[in-house]
């Protein structure tokens, strides 16, 4: 008896379902049309109207321009060794600096361990956000302006730019840990530092190392272009080749960048396997 009443009360009319389905279809179509209009408008403004079609010339001319890059300037190779090593060093030291800055950022920015939530948590989150929302080239421009030309501003740019990702992922790993081991270590009479050391860090170390290695790989890529704004490494050579219209030289630098990136990936792959 009672269940019958429930049924009639909750039962939905077929007409209602059809009306709702039609309404959904109409709103979906409107949404789709709005998106299409936006895309077409963007194509018109940014591509059709904004491109210098005269200078680009015919398809043949475009291919010919691209063809100029095919070829390697072997005479450049001896001059690449030092900048390549410098690029690699910038990425290593930059990542290391980033990890050091990450320690307070992670500590403050993880909800469950932040020392004084109303103040330290926003500070930690702010450090992560500002690091990520500014491009590495912009950071490099800033540090070149502050510290002058050379590898040092590059290291700072990479370091500061790395904080966002490493600290955010580490803080999230810390927020996801199992609470049991923390209880167990607290119950032995351990202090907060010991709890961090014995109950929290062992749970997140593999993840954190993985994140650092990943960020380091990205940092090799980043440091390869920092020379464009005067922050040392292969980017500077790249810039010079481009300015002197030595297109084969440009290709050579790109290949050199590729080589150290692949080297970095190999190193990262094996250290990941060993450490995790």
């Amino acid at each position: 008896m009672k269940s019958d009443q429930l049924l009639t009360k909750t039962a939905i009319n077929v007409d209602d379902i059809l009306v709702k389905r039609n309404r959904d279809k109409v709103s979906h179509s409107i949404f789709f049309m709005v998106i299409m209009a936006l895309v077409l408008w963007s194509v018109n403004v940014t591509i059709i109207e904004d491109t210098d079609w005269e200078r680009m010339g015919s398809l043949g001319e475009v291919l010919a321009s691209a063809g100029r890059f095919i070829g390697v300037d072997f005479s450049l190779i001896p001059n690449l060794l030092e900048p390549a090593i410098e690029t690699f060093m910038i990425s290593c030291l930059g990542t290391l600096l980033g990890v050091i800055i990450c320690i307070p950022a992670t500590w403050f920015g993880a909800l469950n361990i932040t020392p004084f939530k109303p103040i330290t948590y926003p500070i930690g989150r702010f450090m992560m956000t500002i690091s990520r929302s500014i491009h590495e080239i912009v950071w490099a421009l800033f540090f070149v302006a502050v510290l002058g030309l050379g590898a040092l501003p590059g290291i700072f740019a990479i370091g500061v730019r790395s904080v966002g990702f490493i600290a955010k992922m580490s803080a999230e790993a810390i927020e996801d840990i199992k609470l049991g081991p923390i209880e167990a270590i607290r119950a032995t009479g351990a202090n907060r530092f010991q709890v961090l050391l014995y109950a929290i860090l062992p749970q997140v170390i593999p993840q954190v190392i993985g994140v650092i290695l990943f960020e380091w790989e990205i940092n090799i890529r980043r440091s390869a272009i920092l020379g464009l704004v005067g922050a040392g490494g292969l980017g500077l050579v790249f810039f010079r080749q481009m300015n002197t219209y030595n297109y084969h030289g440009v290709t050579t630098v790109i290949l050199a960048i590729l080589v150290i990136i692949i080297f970095g990936e190999i190193v990262s792959h094996f250290s990941r396997k060993r450490m995790i």
Binding site: G180, E183, I185, A187, T188, G189, N191, F193, Q203
Partner: protein, 250 residues
């Protein structure tokens, strides 16, 4: 003389939420193996965590060897915690550390920050850890990582970790609930044997009445945060049990 005295203990987790413990009283004596029984959600885990203040009680008093634990400063509390060993349902070992390091972590209350950072423990403590691991039957697993062990073995590490503290009281929070019936009985026997040998009173949460009757000399039963029974194991009869577990039977 009682080792532990709990008076009018009340707990609620948040200001608006219902009370978990509604005025609990009991005393644990020097030679007691004391069981807390009751259905899931009765407040057993909360109760046992109040003893070493992993959970902060809202009101009521707890005395451990005459010292009032409630209202104690954090520094003093850490010193008291060194004397109270705890064994957990989910073992709560540090998965990525070795069995030896897990046992030694029971000594953290006696270890400085710098030494704990480098995991430097005195030779005597390592010796003691080895002895305990031998007693719980794991002397051949010293270097294994904790997550390589089986459930029963992990709980044995948990027992060694609690005992290396040299505790004056053992808190057992459902020590057998994650184990099968045979291993459960083995673990309970081991705990009882070690506790008797070292003269440590135990306070044990356990929902398995059979095991409680078998191993414990005193029992309190709680239901919905209220004490329903308090007495020796012999005096617990079927009628009392039905009262405690009424909710579950329905």
């Amino acid at each position: 003389m009682s080792v532990l005295e709990v008076n009018e203990l009340r707990v609620r987790y948040n200001a608006g939420s219902p009370e978990i413990l509604k005025g609990i009283n009991f005393e644990v004596g020097e030679n007691d193996f004391f069981a807390i029984i009751g259905p899931s959600g009765a407040g057993k885990s909360t109760l046992i965590r109040c003893i070493n203040r992993l959970v902060e009680p809202n009101s009521g008093k707890i005395y451990f060897k005459g010292n009032e634990i409630t209202g104690m400063s954090n520094r003093k509390l850490r010193i008291i915690r060194r004397d109270i060993g705890m064994i957990f349902q989910e073992f709560n070992l540090i998965d990525r550390m070795s069995v030896m390091d897990n046992v030694l972590s029971g000594r953290l209350g006696y270890t400085g920050n710098l030494r704990s950072f480098f995991k430097i423990f005195p030779r005597k403590e390592i010796e003691k850890a080895l002895n305990l691991l031998d007693r719980v039957g794991l002397s051949d697993q010293v270097d294994k990582r904790a997550d390589e062990l089986s459930g029963g073995q992990r709980q044995r590490v948990g027992i060694a970790r609690a005992l290396i503290q040299g505790p004056k009281l053992l808190l057992l929070d459902e020590p057998t609930s994650s184990l099968d019936p045979k291993i459960s009985r083995e673990i309970m026997s081991l705990i009882k044997e070690m506790a008797t040998e070292l003269n440590v009173p135990c306070l044990c949460n356990i929902h398995d009445v059979q095991l409680a009757m078998e191993f414990c000399n005193k029992i309190i039963g709680i239901k919905d945060g209220v004490k329903m029974f308090d007495g020796s194991t012999e005096s617990l009869n079927k009628q009392k049990l039905d009262e405690i577990y009424l909710m579950e039977v329905l």
